[in-house]
């Protein structure tokens, strides 16, 4: 009998601190064949297990064509993620997935990409940036707007220079506040401010991909619509409590939609009138 909920063993191959409360874990399935057969789309997630603690949905933050390992960038917020932070290289975790739909990469081909993220929301978008960088000619311009709480809370900060080096790519950074003594050469304010003050992207031939706190996305969507973007060209990745990841347990229901299976990426036109407490 095949169990829908049995995780596969994955080994932590590397841990890289991102911010004081966030780290990127590089994983590989213990079974080499499982690893070589494993593929995912940018924006999909895995259910990550620590036995005796539980499971949590975590987006995959590495490029899709990296086949030897995959990354999860994890912030310590709940039971599982706190337990995760005590694990070390060589320790094992359980993985089942990938689940969810992922970003509309096919639709993005040949289009300009406006990528907007807040906080840990950059994690599921990192595979998009990496895909554009690795297959540059498949896409139009790339503009990234990213906001974090403080300079120390910026994810993947050692990769910004590399992203800026990708041709026809712009990166705008902002933080909510700069604690005394921190150096910060970028903007201070909300991501919405970047949309208003910095953003160069125009609605024509552009796909917007966005992930961050819902309150941020709500206001960014408003700002984009005010600038002529249409709901149908905006994609957002949503977060809900999940237990099963496969549209059965009921927790992530948002109106008729299951965020785990029908999402987590949604076209804003499809959810804007959704009768649930969203955006």
């Amino acid at each position: 009998m095949r169990s829908l909920f049995k995780p596969e063993t994955a080994v932590i191959k590397g841990i890289k601190a991102q911010t004081p409360d966030t780290a990127t874990y590089t994983l590989a399935f213990a079974d080499a064949k499982k690893q070589s057969d494993y593929s995912f789309r940018p924006g999909q997630f895995n259910m990550l297990t620590i036995l005796g603690i539980g499971e949590a949905p975590i987006s995959i933050s590495s490029p899709v064509d990296e086949r030897l390992t995959f990354d999860h960038t994890i912030r310590r917020v709940g039971n599982l993620t706190k337990a995760m932070s005590s694990l070390q290289e060589g320790d094992t975790v359980g993985i089942r997935g990938p689940y969810g739909n992922g970003w509309p990469v096919e639709e993005m081909r040949g289009k300009n990409i406006l990528l907007i993220a807040g906080g840990i929301g950059l994690a599921p978008l990192r595979p998009v940036i990496q895909q554009v960088a690795r297959h540059r000619r498949d896409f139009g311009s790339l503009e990234i707007l990213y906001g974090a709480r403080t300079p120390a809370d910026g994810m993947f900060s050692d990769e910004y220079a590399g992203w800026r080096g990708v041709s026809d790519t712009k990166l705008w950074l902002t933080v909510d506040q700069v604690p005394d003594g921190n150096r910060w050469d970028h903007d201070v304010g909300l991501v919405t401010d970047l949309v208003e003050d910095r953003m160069e992207s125009k609605p024509q031939n552009t796909v917007v991909v966005m992930c961050g706190p819902e309150i941020m996305m709500k206001f960014v969507v408003k700002a984009l619509l005010a600038r002529g973007f249409k709901p149908g060209q905006i994609y957002v990745s949503l977060e809900r409590r999940m237990e099963c990841g496969v549209a059965k347990c009921g927790h992530c229901q948002m109106g008729p939609i299951y965020v785990c299976k029908d999402g987590p990426v949604f076209n804003y036109a499809e959810i804007k009138d959704l009768p649930e407490e969203v955006l």
Partner: protein
């Protein structure tokens, strides 16, 4: 359809016979509570009852079930999945409302991601229906197109008659179970078939409670926001009893026992509970009773039909009986039909 008849006395003998090869689950009466339980002898089977307190779903989607057992180990995770059922089962005495509900749960647990544990139990269980002769005042299965005296969802369907039962053989799986004690059954005469169909027709007539759900989903499509939800939700205690006794409610949690060795289990959860939608960071998209009460009724009457083209209510009436504050889904359906949500919205 093939029919057989069996006397009350022989029914006990057949049930005892099948326990040699099947696990027998049937309605039982213990401490004044009627529940489906595994029984070793037909003497334990309760034949005259209205309905069980918990629906039959408990035997496909148990209130708590082990998903797998684990041990701490270096390297590979030491996980031992639950074995499939050791023996096939006969689930005897299921009412048509509960039979229908199982087909609704099939939509959820089958499909793109097949739930092996549910489907194993489903495939290896012979569903034996038992027609209702005297529906309760809270029964309204007929409102959802369910006949109290018949059900296509059963493998075998029994209708009580003078001195015994008429049996409809509705699947090969059912016939196989019948054949374990074939000699206890006889061929019916025309009068017996007629008597059974009359009993079924009378049961249908005896349904007193009725609502018309036609168009309710379409109406609810427009009334996610309505003061109506503010009006009806305050009295709800969010105790969750409606979700536990509901034959179509299927939300669950997956949890681990803590420690170095233990099990991952799944257990029923309830959208009535505050924590149901609370995320790790603390954000809760359904923070108050209003959102939770609304979610339960919209799930039954709007979202489930959106996804699976059927209402997720079978009119068993358990929630009407057990809700401590008399939240009444038939009243809500009537209110929707009567334009009360629309009026409240004005």
């Amino acid at each position: 359809m093939e029919h057989k008849v069996i006397s009350r006395e022989n029914l006990g003998k057949w049930l005892d016979t099948i326990t040699r090869e099947y696990d027998l689950i049937a309605p039982t009466l213990d401490d004044d509570v009627v529940l489906f339980k595994e029984v070793k002898s037909a003497a334990r089977v309760l034949l005259d009852y209205n309905n069980t307190v918990l629906p039959a779903k408990d035997h496909f989607f148990p209130q708590t079930e082990t998903v797998f057992r684990f041990k701490a180990s270096a390297g590979q995770l030491a996980i031992e999945p639950e074995p499939p059922l050791a023996r096939p089962r006969v689930l005897f005495g299921v009412r048509p409302c509960d039979l229908k509900s199982i087909t609704l749960l099939d939509h959820v647990f089958d499909g793109d991601f097949q739930d092996g544990q549910y489907l194993d139990k489903r495939a290896r269980t012979v569903l034996v229906g038992l027609g209702c002769n005297s529906p309760q005042p809270t029964c309204f299965c007929g409102s959802f197109g369910i006949e109290p005296g018949s059900s296509p969802a059963a493998d075998l369907f029994f209708t009580e008659m003078e001195g015994g039962y008429l049996v409809n053989i509705q699947s090969e799986k059912g016939k196989e179970a019948l054949q374990k004690g074939w000699s206890f059954f006889a061929d019916p005469d025309a009068g017996q078939v007629k008597e059974a169909s009359e009993r079924a027709a009378n049961a249908k007539k005896a349904l007193k409670l009725s609502v018309d759900p036609k168009g309710v989903k379409e109406e609810l499509d427009h009334f996610f926001e309505s003061p109506y939800w503010d009006e009806i939700s305050p009295k709800c205690l969010t105790c969750g009893i409606c979700t536990y006794i509901c034959p179509t409610c299927h939300c669950f949690d997956i949890n681990d026992t803590s420690g170095q060795a233990g099990e991952r289990f799944r257990c029923w959860d309830s959208c009535m509970f505050t924590d149901f939608t609370r995320m790790a960071g603390g954000h809760n998209p359904r923070p108050t009773k209003k959102e939770r009460v609304r979610q339960r009724f919209l799930h039954k009457l709007r979202y489930f039909p959106d996804r699976y083209k059927e209402y997720a209510c079978v009119g068993c009436g358990r929630c009407l009986q057990k809700c401590p504050v008399h939240m009444d889904i038939t009243q809500i359906i009537s209110d929707v039909k009567g334009g009360k949500l629309q009026n409240a919205a004005k």
